[in-house]
């Protein structure tokens, strides 16, 4: 039913996305630490700024940031991720991720992947209605509350970590308030982790699947009214 509500290629003009992350994890590979400079040489045109971790351990990632400071790569001995704060659609993002990953894979002869993750972090500014967080305007969460517990939330924080086929989905829904001018917002953080049946030869489809699953959660939660706003169909 929800598949008809959106196209997977649709990019919303009023998207609440503040960060998209795609990550792979693998058993620790020391060559990454020893020859980090070789990887940097391959990406320095696009990600020239190096951010060295404060903690001096091998598990803390080096970061390589682009010139506009809205995208970065993180690389540690056991994981690699691409972060985008100016997301313009999954096709371009996945292509960039796969290109970078292939460089990494060839350079360090990675043996195995243990996790592929996709994360959407959204921030939706809201205005209270009668003092209540207007959750139902934005998302449909059908939680059967017992008598005596109202769904008129003055505040909320919810984190669900759910087992799904071949992985885990972490959903975080929380009301937040900005410290400078007290603007409130809903933080919607969706994170799908594929932990089974991951193969190098299928990395493309693994990443696409992680994306599709995470997008589906977002779309399944959105109300039709809010989707109208996302599409720019406003007064």
């Amino acid at each position: 039913m929800n598949e008809k509500k959106y196209k997977i290629t649709e990019v919303y003009p009023n998207s609440p996305l503040v960060e998209v992350v795609c990550e792979v994890r693998f058993p620790g590979e020391l060559a990454i630490e020893c020859r980090r400079d070789e990887f940097y040489e391959k990406i320095r045109d696009r990600y020239p700024t190096i951010l060295v971790p404060k903690a001096g351990d091998s598990l803390s990632p080096y970061r390589f940031e682009n010139k506009d400071r809205n995208a970065e790569i993180m690389l540690a001995i056991n994981r690699f991720s691409l972060h985008d704060k100016k997301y313009s659609g999954h096709k371009r993002f996945i292509k960039e991720f796969i290109d970078l990953f292939k460089t990494l894979y060839k350079m360090y002869s990675l043996k195995k992947l243990v996790r592929v993750g996709w994360r959407y972090i959204n921030v939706i500014p809201f205005t209270r209605e009668d003092g209540i967080v207007p959750l139902q305007r934005f998302i449909s969460v059908n939680v059967n509350l017992p008598e005596g517990v109202s769904d008129q939330f003055e505040n909320l924080v919810m984190v669900l970590i759910s087992k799904v086929p071949n992985g885990t989905i972490t959903t975080r829904i929380e009301s937040i308030i900005r410290s400078d001018d007290q603007q409130e917002a809903l933080l919607l953080d969706f994170d799908f982790a594929l932990t089974e049946k991951i193969e190098f030869s299928r990395i493309n489809s693994c990443v696409s699947m992680a994306h599709d699953q995470t997008r589906a959660i977002f779309e399944n939660l959105m109300t039709d009214d809010y989707r109208q706003y996302l599409r720019g169909e406003t007064i």
Binding site: N14, V18, E19, V21, C22, E23, S60, P61, R63, E72, M74, S81, H83, K85, G117, W118, R119, V123, P125, F126, T127, R128, E129, D130, G131, I132, R137, E154, N155, L156, V157, V159, I161, T168, T170, S175, I177, R178, D181, Q182, Q183, E184, A185, D191, F192, A193, D225, Y226, Q228, Y229, E233, T234, I235
Partner: protein
């Protein structure tokens, strides 16, 4: 609900989240894509925030819209502004809530005004606004 009460609800929530028996831990580590500690802290938002509104209330009336009304909220030196250029509404207040309340009052006032305005007397911009208010807004409560 005023700002002090809203802030109090956040403090209460954080206090409850902070409590956990001494010999327990939350036990959820290393599960997220892009570890929290490693995600570059981002500063969300600019000076102007856009938020959708569907329901407009005042002590005397309530109006709902068929489409989301995009309200731009900003903070000046001493006042907050809530505005929608398409509807020609520019409201101010000493707090964010006051600016939104003023926006609601204006919208309800203009809805009533354009609803009762005779089509023969409406020209140009007034015609455009009358059409918007008639087609897309509906009064659901009115105290005479």
């Amino acid at each position: 609900m005023n700002m002090a009460q809203i802030n109090e609800s956040y403090e209460l929530r954080d206090e409850r989240l902070g409590f956990i028996p001494e010999n327990f831990s939350r036990g959820v580590i290393d599960t997220s894509t892009g570890l929290e500690d490693n995600i570059t802290p981002w500063r969300w938002g600019s000076i102007i925030v856009e938020t959708p509104l569907w329901r407009f209330t005042s002590p005397k009336a309530e109006v709902i819209s068929a489409k989301p009304v995009l309200v731009k909220i900003s903070k000046g030196e001493s006042l907050f502004f809530a505005e929608n250029e398409n509807l020609g509404i520019f409201a101010t207040g000493e707090s964010r809530n006051e600016a939104i309340s003023a926006f609601n009052e204006h919208l309800i006032h203009f809805h009533k005004h354009y609803k009762h305005l005779d089509w023969n007397k409406a020209t140009g911009e007034a015609q455009r606004l009358k059409k918007i208010y008639e087609d897309l807004f509906k009064e659901v409560r009115h105290e005479s």
